[in-house]
Symmetry: C2
Subunit: 325 residues, 2 copies
Amino acid sequence: MQTRDLAQAVIAGDRRALARAITLVESGRADHREAAAELLEVCAKSGRQALRIGLSGTPGVGKSSFIEAFGTMLTGQGLRVAVLAVDPSSARSGGSILGDKTRMERLSRDPRAFIRPSPSQAELGGVARRTREAVALCEAAGFDVVLIETVGVGQSETLVAGMTDIFVLLLAPAGGDELQGVKRGIMEMADLIVVNKADGDLKHTATRTCADYAGALRLLRKRPQDPEGFPKALTVSAVEEHGLDRVWNEIRDLAEWRSSSGHLASRRAEQARGWFEEEVRQGLLARLTRDPVVKGEMDRLGQSVEAGDIAPARAASRILSQIKG
Amino acid sequence: MQTRDLAQAVIAGDRRALARAITLVESGRADHREAAAELLEVCAKSGRQALRIGLSGTPGVGKSSFIEAFGTMLTGQGLRVAVLAVDPSSARSGGSILGDKTRMERLSRDPRAFIRPSPSQAELGGVARRTREAVALCEAAGFDVVLIETVGVGQSETLVAGMTDIFVLLLAPAGGDELQGVKRGIMEMADLIVVNKADGDLKHTATRTCADYAGALRLLRKRPQDPEGFPKALTVSAVEEHGLDRVWNEIRDLAEWRSSSGHLASRRAEQARGWFEEEVRQGLLARLTRDPVVKGEMDRLGQSVEAGDIAPARAASRILSQIKG
């Protein structure tokens, strides 16, 4: 299929075309990159945009159950929901996130939902690029909500927050005032803290955990782009499907507030510019490993450096002047 | 002064020349980079090498006092000691590490010692390059020991461990079994854990903290390059100058063991190769901001991306093909 035909099929809402398009943007091959750029440009012309929600939660907080219940509630309201994953560890673990769609059995069979596991790429930069592009494709395909989930480790939250409109932190009930070791930086990124498992024996603990976080959030400075009361902490029970509507209402209210103030549009414009700059950096660095001549010279000079025959800085300046020429 | 004359003055042990040479390698200017590469190449011909020791410790563990006492002990044995600092926060804080030499009053007046604060550069990559090059200059200047200190935050330990022969983690006495939240990754980098402040009221706590760490270290797998018993945990008192000789003996024993097994040489060769590759990456990325034509085009396209006139990936591929040509 030609790239333009593929783009048209994506825009027409063809799910298999969407899956193929995402596979294309995941490829690192130079000719695929060129085709992907064209695909994205045609898709961008659709002008469609979804609400982009980032969702972070460490293993064990019930992320899959939450997405299953939350996504099903949204599709029940007639909304089309795409779920993407950013898992920096997927290359090693073989894709722990969403690798097993059976954990979201209902949602994966839902005609209004589209679930795509994290690509198994080694570098976070590569996963980031693919995810940004997959979001753009899902938007062109007419999805109303794009949910990007990530595990609560390292830099992946920053990355997901940098490509979404609203960032939700999912937590499990925890004993006492330990606040589960959530880093201040991650707290500061969260628009909504959602304490899951507010059911059965854990209900009381969940309520207390939520109050602890609400208190912690009050210590953070209110962001100028937000209405009074945000960021907020809420409890839900994914298994009892309780509190999910409130989460959705809060997300929608916040998105509407930010949209009417112009903040949403300017945030997206900044994110797009950041994406462009990152893409240039990655593309430049990729030449070192992809161009066989440069790669061969890197290897040869690297061996000379190891052997002590040439100083590292001199070897580097030699290769840099070659790339220039 | 010509670059070659400067190199000769460094090799002759001229301290002012060494300070000037480090200032030169700290510069980001293209002509300075070229001169720095030449300088480093001439200096490398001296063939001199120092024992490179990395020292990490969070504020409050008494790092300055330890370096003052430890360094003075070494110079008292006739050794020449250079102290460099890697402080990723120095750009913001104005150089919190070693900015105030009065904290090492004796050592800074010691003719056998050379102390250089962390450069105030924003990016860790830039600080890393400069530090590697400063180490090479100190070695050419005939220093026997180069101590590179860093604060215990983020990636700076990994960076310092990647440019040293031996990595020492300095800690303060801590209550109970909390192990001061030292990350496992940092524990695994440490060759020696040194619990400072084993004096006065804290002496008992220091001994217990040391035992806790010794226990934790035993849980780590022994590294093939190390003799039995490493990594080790020790207590010292910098203010009472107690235990410093034992730290030095352990460092020397470990260095000799690794040297005779060939590990030290192969580790340095690998580090040099890594330095070369990193230098190439940094040099390549620097073109985006230093070349006025490329920078202007980046700005222009960045604005178009922000305005939504061109897709980020397309804009990136456009600029990449320009840089190629």
